[in-house]
């Protein structure tokens, strides 16, 4: 039992820290840290810098650009990226569809999609949720019917994140409506969003942003060669994907960075004769949140250190659940530090700084993290059934 990183791991951390803090411009990192807004170009440019250094997709198979890293190295990579406020590579590309294609796709699909996916030459979006299939994903209805060399797709997806930027969508579609088990009639299909019959309609969110969309499919003709793996096996691939997705959403480094920003800003707020940071009530709230983050950080390290055999750990539900709560607590703390300066939004030439103007929209936006990728209630159900046997 020991806490220390090995000499090699410390050297690796230094290498990552240096890379993230020197290869990405301070302006880009400041925008990613919440002092501005990231554009589509920012995200693509960030991922292309990573990819140019062979660091966009380290968890993919080596032949497709992956690194043969240990779980601890992967953790360090991700942690240092967050601490440096480097924009994350597109999760739809690197954590979701990429690993699925690499594991289950045909050789043609791998060659066609993986290099472009790693380099963000294709922007993917995820077509899973539907109006009537949220937490109960297996009840999805969007249908793909075989017609010669094609599938004809009809139906609707929703909550499709950043579909307005996307070129392709990976979809779960129903290919066998008569399957005994609902999960057994689902397939995993790659669809070019430029195909006729597809309409993307943005959904405006409570923070004023457009981040998610509805995607409608009206007799959309998709070549059958875009089916990943076997027909009616899509649920297995989706479970594989969601397992990857959930361990990536703890985001302790991100939350720690937000809390550090809140602390720095609290030094500048006057309360009585001192600053907000001197206030015992605020300091206690801050100390408790920092402690909660440390506990999650350590728990994540325990999971990382025990996952050397590569098997998914059921504790990933804990990481998703608690990671969401602490991201939300961190955005709330920063908003509360902004205080009245959090009221104006998108306004220049006033004294309320940009970070403060973004604090409340971010707080509102981050209510999503306990809803997406398996809501907190779904995670509690998983813990109760698969860990506690209830």
């Amino acid at each position: 039992m020991n806490l220390e990183l090995t000499t090699e791991e410390v050297a690796f951390r230094e290498e990552m820290r240096k890379f993230f803090t020197t290869e990405f411009s301070p302006e880009l990192r400041a925008r990613a840290a919440g002092f501005g807004k990231l554009t589509r170009e920012d995200i693509v440019a960030g991922q292309q810098i990573l990819n140019a250094h062979g660091l966009a997709v380290p968890h993919w198979p080596v032949e497709w650009g992956g690194k043969d890293w240990t779980p601890v190295q992967r953790h360090i990579y991700s942690e240092e990226m967050q601490l440096a406020s480097v924009p994350n590579p597109l999760p739809f590309n690197v954590s979701m569809v990429g690993p699925v294609i690499a594991a289950f796709g045909s050789q043609e699909q791998k060659e066609k999609f993986l290099p472009a996916t790693a380099n963000a030459d294709i922007w993917w979006c995820q077509g899973f949720s539907e109006p009537e299939a949220g937490s109960d994903l297996a009840s999805l209805k969007t249908a793909a019917v075989r017609d010669g060399a094609d599938y004809i797709v009809n139906g609707q997806k929703t909550w499709t994140t950043l579909a307005q930027h996307a070129e392709w969508i990976f979809c779960l579609v129903r290919t066998d409506a008569s399957a005994q088990k609902r999960q057994a009639g689902i397939s995993f299909l790659l669809i070019d969003l430029a195909t006729p019959g597809i309409t993307v309609r943005p959904i405006k969110l409570i923070d004023g942003s457009v981040e998610v969309n509805e995607v409608f499919f009206d007799n959309v003709r998709v070549p059958a060669e875009n089916l990943v793996g076997e027909e009616n096996k899509g649920w297995d691939y989706a479970k594989f994907l969601l397992g990857n997705e959930r361990t990536g959403v703890t985001r302790v480094g991100f939350s720690k960075t937000l809390v550090a920003t809140a602390k720095e800003k609290a030094r500048e707020v006057r309360v009585g004769t001192g600053t907000l940071l001197d206030d015992p009530l605020f300091a206690a709230r801050l100390a408790e949140l920092e402690n909660d983050l440390l506990a999650l950080d350590l728990t994540q390290l325990r999971v990382v250190a025990s996952s050397a055999d590569g098997k998914p750990n059921p504790a990933s539900s804990l990481l998703k659940l608690r990671g969401s709560e602490l991201q939300q607590a961190a955005t709330e703390l920063l908003m509360d530090v902004a205080g009245p300066d959090s009221l104006p939004v998108n306004t220049v030439e006033i004294d309320s700084p940009e970070w403060a103007q973004q604090a409340a929209p971010r707080y509102l936006n981050y209510r999503k993290v306990s809803i997406y990728s398996g809501s907190s209630e779904v995670q509690r159900s998983i813990i109760a059934s698969s860990i506690l046997g209830l």
């Binding site: 806490l3 720690k256 300091a283 402690n291 440390l294 250190a305 059934s385």
Partner: protein
């Protein structure tokens, strides 16, 4: 980075667990608790035979030379079994102080006797009307010729009821805090013994010019006291993890077997989701408990780390304790059923060596000194 026990530590865990499983169930524990001593001399003898009592002391001092991870392993098992033996208060804390501060003669005189179970000690440090951390003690030490006398009141002194020799903290004539060995039955010593709500024992000591022997070479030993507290806090966290693990196990078992409205309680999501939250709290607290122990094992004696762990464990204990009783319903309120005893012990741990609020107060006072909390730098 490695959070696993090695083979020997696993064996220690299994051996301790086996001994305690054999020694205690709810009924035996309640019966033991009702005796005068509140613990079982035959179990204590087996602790000595297994080498548990001398576990952390150097082999040269009659101990086993084991580290903080081994202490953690044993404390977790004591917690799991809710064993009432005076292990931490009667041996580990006072023995640790003797090992750290005592002269060669004092170590040779006392540590083998603590390790073989024939002598019990206690650390008399807390004074009435104070909160952790103790800044200065009002108990005073005076030098009389070649000897010392102690005057002051100490309460609560955990396991002070059965101590043969007490280690007393006292303010030195020239300032600073010293440690003194006092015969618990000596003249000028008044001892009032009592049972605590968790079925353990304690005492109040009033010293009136009581004859005392200075521990070690003299001078201020505040640093050694802080180290003893850091080690004890890590040990208490480990005990609490064992207790909470068992409280959660009892609760989930109960949800599976108790039927109402024709179905097991486990069919009600309002209960299973709360059990999931108990699990989350336990895992987070376990990580912090491991952290506190592993830091010591790496040679880092850091009161801030101990405070972080005790705060996290305290918060989890609050939630798990209250939920465990609530989800058992009426049966959880009874003295016959074990869950309430586990909760009582969690509450007692909360109020030993700093409650959650005390540790949060200390941590809050330091937030402006750093930018971010990291596991390793």
């Amino acid at each position: 980075m490695n959070f696993e026990l090695d083979d020997e530590q696993t064996m220690l865990r299994d051996t301790t667990r086996e001994l305690l499983n054999r020694s205690y169930d709810a009924e035996k524990r309640n019966a033991t608790s009702a005796t005068d001593e509140g613990w079982n001399a035959s179990v204590w003898k087996q602790f000595a035979e297994l080498g548990l009592l001398g576990l952390p002391f150097a082999e040269a001092d009659g101990g086993m030379g084991a580290g903080p991870v081994e202490t953690m392993v044993v404390m977790t098992e004591l917690g799991r079994a809710l064993a009432p033996e005076p292990y931490l208060g009667g041996v580990l804390i006072p023995g640790g102080l003797i090992a750290a501060v005592g002269s060669a003669d004092q170590r040779a005189r006392l540590l083998p006797a603590l390790s073989d179970g024939t002598t019990l000690s206690a650390f008399a440090h807390t004074e009435p009307g104070t909160r952790w951390p103790v800044a200065t003690v009002t108990t005073n030490a005076s030098q009389e010729g070649s000897g010392w006398t102690i005057t002051g009141v100490k309460n609560p002194v955990l396991q002070g009821d059965s101590a043969h020799v007490v280690i007393v903290s006292a303010t030195l004539p020239g300032g600073g805090t010293g440690l003194f060995l006092v015969d618990a039955e000596g003249s000028g010593v008044t001892r009032s013994t009592y049972a605590t709500h968790d079925g353990r024992r304690g005492a109040q000591f009033t010293f009136t010019d009581a004859a005392a022997e200075q521990l070690g070479e003299g001078g201020d030993v505040t640093e050694a006291i802080v180290e003893a507290e850091v080690r004890a806090q890590a040990a208490l966290c480990a005990e609490a993890i064992g207790i909470m693990t068992e409280a959660l196990r009892l609760t989930t078992e109960y949800l599976k077997q108790r039927k109402q409205f024709g179905v097991p309680l486990a069919k009600f999501q309002t209960l299973t989701h709360r059990a999931a939250d108990m699990y989350v709290a336990l895992e987070l607290a376990s990580s912090m408990s491991l952290y506190a122990t592993m830091a010591i094992a790496d040679g880092v004696i850091d009161p801030t780390i101990a405070s972080r762990a005790k705060l996290s464990v305290g918060r989890a204990a609050h939630q798990i304790g209250q939920e465990a009783i609530q989800m058992h319903g009426g049966i959880g309120m009874t003295a016959e059923y074990p869950v309430g005893h586990y909760v009582s012990r969690l509450v007692a741990i909360e109020h030993t060596l700093g409650a959650s609020d005390d540790h949060l107060r200390v941590l809050a006072a330091g937030v402006s000194n750093y930018s971010m909390v990291n596991v390793t730098e």
